[in-house]
Symmetry: C2
Subunit: 246 residues, 2 copies
DNA sequence: CGTTATCATATGTCAGACGTTTAATTGTCT
DNA sequence: AGACAATTAAACGTCTGACATATGATAACG
C-alpha cells in the first residue's frame, strides 16, 4: 500500500485512497492504530501537512478517528449505523436539492421503499415502535401545529414504521429517503382537511401494523403515496398559476 | 457563518461544518467560488493549513472541487448521482463488514428493496435495460466462469433491473444495497446446479419484466431471495461443521 | 503504598516559503 | 489592426520547522 508515484494528482488524495483501500480490504482491522503522522509522512515520502490532509479526508467519512496525547493517533473507526445515517441524509438531501429531482420522483422512490418494509414491519412490530407511531399521530392532531412541526412528526412516524422491521440495513437505507424528503414536503401547506386525511391514513397504517396485517398496511401506504403526490401536484400547479398571473 | 469560538474541538472540523451548513442551507449556490484559502484563513482567524484541512474534509464528501491556476479556487460542487453511488457503496460495504451484519439481514434488505422497484421496472422497462439483463444471463451461462465473475454478473443483472425503473433516486439507494452484498455473496461457492437454478430465475424475471408483468417479476424475485438465503445458510452450516470437526 | 510531579509522545496549530498551474495581460510582429 | 508569443499574477500544492496542548506512562516523594 506504499505505492505513490508523483505522477498524476494530489498526493493527499492518493494517500487517502491507499489507506481507504487497505481498510476496505481488511488489511487494517477495526480499532487498529495507524502509524503516527510523522511515520506516515516518512513512509510516503511526503510532509506531515500532506499526511494530515489525507487523514482529514478519511475522518470526514468516519473511516478513522483521531486521539490526542501520548497513546493517541489515528485509529480505524468502526462505522456505526448512526454515523452512516447522518452522512446518508445529508447526501440524499443535497442530491435532491442540487439535481432538481421532482417531487414526483422523490415521492415515488420513498413510498416504494417504505412499502418494501411494510410487510416486515407488520410481522415484527413491537410495542415500542407502535407506541411511537401512536404518539406521533397524537401530536399531528394538535391544532396549533406549524407545517414544519407537522412534517417533522410525519418523518418521525415513518421512521418508526421503518424501524419496526428490525432490520438495521433497511433502516439505514430508508433514513436517507425519508428524511431527505422533508425539505420538499415543507413546501406544502397542509390545510386542516389534508391533515385530517393524512392522519386518518396514518391511523389506518398503525392499525394494520398493530394487527400484523401487511397487505392492509401496504394498501394504505399506497393511498398515502397517491394523496401526497396529489398535494404536491396541487402546490406546483398553484405556484405556476401565480407566476403566470404575475 | 463566521462563528468559530476556540472553545471545544478541532478548528478544521468546525470550519468544515460551517461551510457545509452554508451549502446545505443554500447560501452557497452550486458552482459558487469560495474565497481563496488565504482569505478564508483571514476570515476565520486561523492559518492556511487549518483551512486546507477543512477544505479537504469537504472535498472528501464531494461537496467542493478545487481548481488550480489563476482563476482557480474551491467551488461548490454539484453532487451527481454517480458520485453519490460510490460513497454509498463504500459506506454500505463497510457497514456490513464492520458490524457483522448477518447474510440473512443483508439479503432480506436487498431483496425487499429490489422487489419495491420491480413493479416500476416492469412498467417502464426499455429495450436498453432488457438487453443488459439478457446479456448478463448469457454471461452467467458460460461454463468456465469463476464464482467472483458470476457474482459480478449477478450484480450487473440486478442493477439493470433496478435502473429499468428509471428513477435515479431508487437507483442510488439500491446501488448501495446491491453492491455491498457482493463481498458476502462471494463467500458462496456456486455449484453447477445452483447456478442453473439462479439463471432460471433470472430468466423468469427478465421474461416477466419484458412482458410488463410486475406481480410475476415480484414472485420470482421472492423465490430468488429464498433460494439465495438457503444457499447462504448452507455455506454457514457447512463452515460451522468444519470448525466443529477441527 | 498511594499520590503527585515530570516527561515523552502524538496530535493541533501556526508562520513563512517555494514550486506549479493556469488564465489574463502585455508586447511585439506581420 | 489583428494574431501570436512572452510576461505576469493569482491561486493551489507542498515543504520545513516550530510551538502549543493533551494524555498516558513513569519516576519521585511523602
Amino acid at each position: 500500500m506504499k505505492i505513490d508515484p508523483t505522477k498524476p494528482a494530489d498526493l493527499s488524495a492518493q494517500i487517502a485512497k491507499a489507506i481507504k483501500d487497505a481498510i476496505i480490504a481488511g488489511d487494517l482491522p477495526v480499532d487498529e492504530r495507524l502509524p503516527s503522522e510523522a511515520e506516515l509522512a516518512d513512509q510516503f515520502n511526503v510532509s506531515r501537512p500532506t499526511v494530515r490532509e489525507a487523514l482529514k479526508r478519511l475522518a470526514a467519512q468516519s473511516l478513522i478517528r483521531t486521539q490526542r496525547g501520548a497513546t493517541g493517533g489515528a485509529f480505524v473507526n468502526r462505522l456505526r449505523f448512526e454515523d452512516a445515517y447522518g452522512q446518508q441524509i445529508t447526501t440524499s438531501t443535497l442530491l435532491l436539492s442540487m439535481n432538481a429531482v421532482s417531487v414526483a420522483t422523490a415521492c415515488e422512490a420513498r413510498y416504494a421503499l417504505e412499502r418494501a418494509c411494510a410487510p416486515l414491519s407488520a410481522q415484527r412490530r413491537t410495542a415500542d415502535h407502535l407506541a411511537t407511531m401512536r404518539a406521533e399521530i397524537h401530536r399531528q392532531r394538535q391544532p396549533g401545529l406549524t407545517d414544519e412541526a407537522f412534517c417533522a412528526s410525519d418523518v418521525a412516524f415513518h421512521r418508526a414504521l421503518v424501524d419496526a422491521a428490525h432490520n438495521p440495513v433497511l433502516s439505514y437505507q430508508l433514513a436517507g429517503a425519508v428524511e431527505a424528503m422533508q425539505p420538499l414536503m415543507n413546501m406544502i401547506t397542509f390545510t386542516a382537511r389534508s391533515r385530517e386525511r393524512i392522519i386518518a391514513l396514518h391511523t389506518a397504517i398503525a392499525d394494520a401494523i398493530d394487527a400484523q396485517d401487511g397487505p392492509k398496511a401496504d394498501e394504505n401506504l399506497a393511498q398515502l403515496a397517491d394523496y401526497t403526490q396529489a398535494l404536491a401536484r396541487d402546490v406546483i400547479a398553484r405556484r405556476a398559476a401565480a407566476q403566470g398571473v404575475k
